[in-house]
């Protein structure tokens, strides 16, 4: 067959809606004939990427059966049409090209896999991030795809949540079973006077949604316990621990080491704050630092204590800063370092924290946890009680 004849072959063209119906029914092979960078930006679920330059070489492996129904799709329908001619020339009998390509598919509101390209509105909203070479469009996309769980929408969680939401962290989970109290408003800036009495998780959600519609907020209006913690945290990339009680703090540590989830953990009291980032097996865990919690009578969180609101905000923003660095994979997170902040003197002190070879959770002799015991934890409720909401 001469090249002229090949070019004159017609290829069946179908609309995106027809393609969708066929794909839904199954038995169809969808091939995306674009370049890898385009595919990464967005693609149709289930499609296989074969760039136009290599389709003649790779099709035999991708689709060994020449009678198999194939839908080809590219950006606007030109390259897929050309690819259709190539496939027909190679003997494929049942080939269609999707007219209008993924542009038309998306214009008709059909679903694409992780629309990772930024919209013009997002390019504008996040322009001050994008201008940073360490972030850029790629980094901003990472943030929009990130899932961060906050334990507590309180003194620490409130400022952390606000800045993570503003930064465009795409999914923010909030665990808090408390309601907004007037005494919270001195520092928990995500709530406001009119929301006194409403659940903190939904108050936080309202503020976040008004601030940034890109953020999907998931509320957990209950307390974490040994029965639910793995289920809640497993969907998240990073956990921010603002828990104001030791049972939750230890439970979270043990569960997050099991699931290898990084935890950013700050605590505050009066004018003093401390913060560290625990990345399982890369640095120490919370139990390497404190193998056992203090007895109830010596635990500072068991009674109400004062705290300077702005100091809580500073520690909350250090948490947000740690989260963003982890998401972006830049800088030096506080792994193996405990940062102390003393607000009266405005002094920072950094201490070294090492992995404890005898750590009962992350040490080399720590018992392997069999799958059947993954969700089983000791009873941390035995001491002190308290709330999740700092």
């Amino acid at each position: 067959m001469s090249p002229e004849q090949a070019e004159q072959q017609t290829v069946e063209e179908i609309t995106p809606q027809e393609a969708f119906t066929e794909l839904d029914a199954g038995g169809v092979k969808l091939i995306d004939t674009r370049e890898p960078y385009e595919y990464e930006e967005s693609h149709i679920d289930g499609s296989e990427l074969i760039p136009p330059g290599v389709i003649a070489d790779r099709i035999a492996v991708a689709v060994p059966d020449k009678s198999q129904r194939i839908i080809l799709q590219c950006r606007s329908g030109v390259r897929s049409y050309d690819a259709g001619q190539v496939l027909q020339e190679l003997g494929y009998e049942d080939v269609a090209s999707m007219a209008g390509g993924i542009l038309e598919w998306e214009a008709q509101g059909l679903p694409v896999e992780s629309n990772v390209n930024l919209t013009p509105a997002q390019r504008d909203r996040y322009s001050r991030h994008i201008l940073l070479p360490e972030v850029g469009v790629e980094g901003q996309i990472k943030m929009l795809e990130a899932k961060v769980l906050l334990l507590g929408a309180g003194g620490l969680g409130a400022p952390t949540a606000l800045y993570l939401a503003a930064a465009g962290i795409g999914t923010i989970g909030i665990v808090d079973d408390d309601v907004v109290d007037a005494s919270n408003l001195q520092r928990q800036v995500i709530h406001n006077t009119s929301r006194v009495g409403t659940p903190k998780s939904s108050s936080a959600r309202q503020t976040i949604e008004e601030l940034n519609p890109d953020v999907n907020v998931i509320e957990y209006n209950f307390r974490l316990d040994a029965d639910n913690i793995l289920e809640v945290i497993e969907d998240y990339d990073i956990i921010v621990d603002g828990a104001d009680n030791f049972p939750t703090r230890y439970l979270l540590n043990d569960a997050s080491v099991r699931l290898r989830k990084p935890v950013v953990s700050a605590s505050i009291l009066s004018f003093d704050g401390q913060i560290s980032t625990f990345v399982p097996y890369e640095g120490p865990c919370y139990r390497c630092l404190y193998p056992t919690p203090p007895p109830p009578e010596l635990a500072p969180s068991c009674s109400a204590n004062g705290v300077l609101g702005a100091m809580a905000g500073q520690m909350g923003l250090l948490q947000a800063n740690e989260v963003l660095k982890l998401v972006l994979g830049i800088g030096e997170p506080l792994v193996g370092r405990l940062l102390l902040y003393e607000a009266l003197g405005t002094r920072f002190t950094e201490l070294k924290v090492r992995r404890d070879p005898k750590c009962p959770i992350c040490g080399p002799d720590a018992p392997e946890v069999p799958e059947s015991e993954m969700g089983q934890f000791p009873d941390y409720e035995a001491f002190c009680g308290g709330h999740t909401g700092s």
Partner: protein, 93 residues
């Protein structure tokens, strides 16, 4: 004299002082002298057997004394001994 940084939970036992100067040539001596001067700090720091409680970390400058020589770790006049009990998250509701 070495200075000892007092954490918030213990300040009520040190007359609200955040930092006190305490004489001693090693960490154990400094901490024992602190307890004799401010007896109510003893319960947080030491177990009944005189060991450092495991929920309290003691640092000499930026290093945990447990990776140095523990309570035997030598202290000079310019050193800072920091007492660091476990703190839980937020500030209560």
């Amino acid at each position: 004299m070495p200075s000892v940084k007092i954490p918030p939970v213990l300040r009520k036992h040190t007359g609200d002082q955040m930092s006190v100067e305490i004489a001693g040539s090693n960490v154990g001596e400094v901490l024992n002298a602190l307890v004799s001067q401010y007896p109510d700090t003893g319960g947080q720091l030491f177990s009944g057997e005189g060991e450092l409680n495991r929920f309290v970390n003691v640092y000499l400058n930026d290093e945990d004394v447990r990776v140095l020589d523990g309570l035997e770790t030598a202290v000079t006049d310019t050193d800072t001994v920091m007492i660091l009990p476990a703190m839980a998250g937020g500030s209560t509701n």
